[in-house]
Symmetry: none
Subunit: 421 residues, 2 copies
Amino acid sequence: VTDRAGRAPETAAVIAVGSELLGSFRSDTNSLWLASRLEASGIRLVRKACVGDDSSSIGAELTVSLGAARIVLLTGGLGPTGDDRTREAVASRFGLSMRTDPAILAALRERFAARGLRMPAINEKQALVIDGSRPLPNPRGSAPGTWLEVNDRVVVLLPGVPGEMKGMFDELVLPEIERRFGGGRVHRRVLHIAAMGESSVEERVAPVYAKWPGREFTILGGAGKVDLYLSAEGEGDAAGELLDAQTRDFEEALPGRIFGRDDETLESAVGDALRRQARTVATAESCTGGLIAETLTRVPGSSDYFLGGVVAYSNRAKQDLLGVRGEALERDGAVSESVALEMARGACARFASDFAISATGIAGPGGGTEAKPVGTVWIGLAESGGREQAMHLRLGRDRHTVRAWTCRAAMEMLRRRLLGA
Amino acid sequence: VTDRAGRAPETAAVIAVGSELLGSFRSDTNSLWLASRLEASGIRLVRKACVGDDSSSIGAELTVSLGAARIVLLTGGLGPTGDDRTREAVASRFGLSMRTDPAILAALRERFAARGLRMPAINEKQALVIDGSRPLPNPRGSAPGTWLEVNDRVVVLLPGVPGEMKGMFDELVLPEIERRFGGGRVHRRVLHIAAMGESSVEERVAPVYAKWPGREFTILGGAGKVDLYLSAEGEGDAAGELLDAQTRDFEEALPGRIFGRDDETLESAVGDALRRQARTVATAESCTGGLIAETLTRVPGSSDYFLGGVVAYSNRAKQDLLGVRGEALERDGAVSESVALEMARGACARFASDFAISATGIAGPGGGTEAKPVGTVWIGLAESGGREQAMHLRLGRDRHTVRAWTCRAAMEMLRRRLLGA
């Protein structure tokens, strides 16, 4: 494997530190994420390993990694407890000493003080710095990272908490690695589709696969979502044009159904459409138990367009808080088109919103009947002008999947309405 | 760590071979499965690694594994193609030669013939056997495994296809490993704590660590949750008593704060307490956007005690749907003790529930002020009888963490109230 200039790509190794990663409860998701980031920058991951929290094991992993790769990333073991030994193990492997960094210590104390807490003495350890290394500040947690260069190798210590690790890597580590080692990049793009099954997406895009022979596409399905992975090699512009051409073909095969790409989420796509049109939304949920509202409000700034929601788990709450008529509940049952629509209308009125989406269904495992088995769901959409629509879903039998599918289907219904589809 | 006979448990290492495992799409699930099998047999996994399909890398992993463990399991790289190099790499690492085994060759030919196919020449490679090793037949596929003993180490080569690997391991490898190396089985327990930071839990349990010298405890923190991992070797009853004794010590160090163990969740603990007391709950959420209701309703059967909730994202919704007085909003602001309590009271009244929990805060990234920075949260708890309480939290600056912490803190407040704490 060489890049366009004929150079072999730079190599990296990842070591995940933590005895819990060797048990059967936890898998190491950090390494998978780092692999994708490195891959996108044209850096080849040559090994990854998980090892317990003892210094000699960490040292042995470091030795074999340094023999195999130019860049070695370690995650975990930077915390304040006696279990956390990565810093010492790395220092000891290179025969380097450690010292307390007064600025880090002060920042740690401040972090605790800001929450009205006294810093426990054990946290002082997190201010220890390996001689000759550069500390990497961690705005999301107490464990600072480390950038260390020894001979021609780069060794980077990152926290094990995924959110802290990812932020530090993207902000402080990746730009430096790309600047110094970035080879012929592989450019990737992910296209997102909601509320369709993997096989029906696959059927529709089969002609696109055929049009691009020799190119590898990957399709990955989840509960109510499908992701299409595209890739192109080469410099930015040429690769970008290739990806754009592939994207156009997929959009033609799935008209109006690709709601976003890469980091874009369905909730951000819905939010962007609402904000562009200066419209607002409310929710009325039964089987999803608040998941739709929770998902919409994951987006920073969602208070611009999300007014609120009612979780009406009991029939009485559907009547009292959403104005669903007892008659409809009795005649059609709580899981019905009429109740889904009344819930949406009720939310629209109570919150004085432009739109409201609703969901009522049987998430299981109990509550199913022959006529309405577990997985039976109705979603509704009401507009302040009076226009409305409902949709019947027959989903699987797993509670989590039913809720996740329903949530995405309801948001996708709103998104398509906003787009005039 | 020793077993009941005072021996240290035997150690194992797992090496997953296959360049595809170093990409971003696939994770190595075989190692996780092997970890749980080994753990249950009292064998301690000390490292696991993924490496590409080249001989020198496989050799280097084998060297570090042999230095760390008595048993080394390799998965993958036993197929017929040029990519499959595990057998040769292991032979070469030990300086052993290979020969074609006529019985395996005949069985491979037969396998193809049974499907009416002629065996491709490349498959002949799968009949190669390392001198001094014992082949492990593979009734599920074409790749036989290998059992090799060198000095006092056992090296086992298994196919990478999960179904083939698992069958071969359970039928041919595990019985032999248990017979020869099985110590007392390791029993594990996880204790869960909510709404406390990792370091304050660690400080309180330090005397328990000291009381059980030589025993390894692991502590893992997340947003508003801390898990303590315990382990004990030996037969069922004795190990269970050991775990119970440790658990009692941790409970004494953290009175009333351990809400569950193993698969138990905070939402199921809250649900169990409500069901036992035949009480009901409703929610009133602002910054958590529905997360508390969504979390409570993850539990099957939660409709027995969860009546519903209001997500009041706008001030108007707080007034219209929860009866919060405009006066309180103006005087104290939406993020205040008085508004948190009015929200909880309002939900209690509207849903006619026994309890209601509320949360109002600044999840960020926007919306912070000097007096109320991002991460400022008030949670409230109201009871139909009029008793109520509120709590102020000062959390970090990450939106997801603020929401998750707040959700767990509110549920924990209710759980402790239900327990009379």
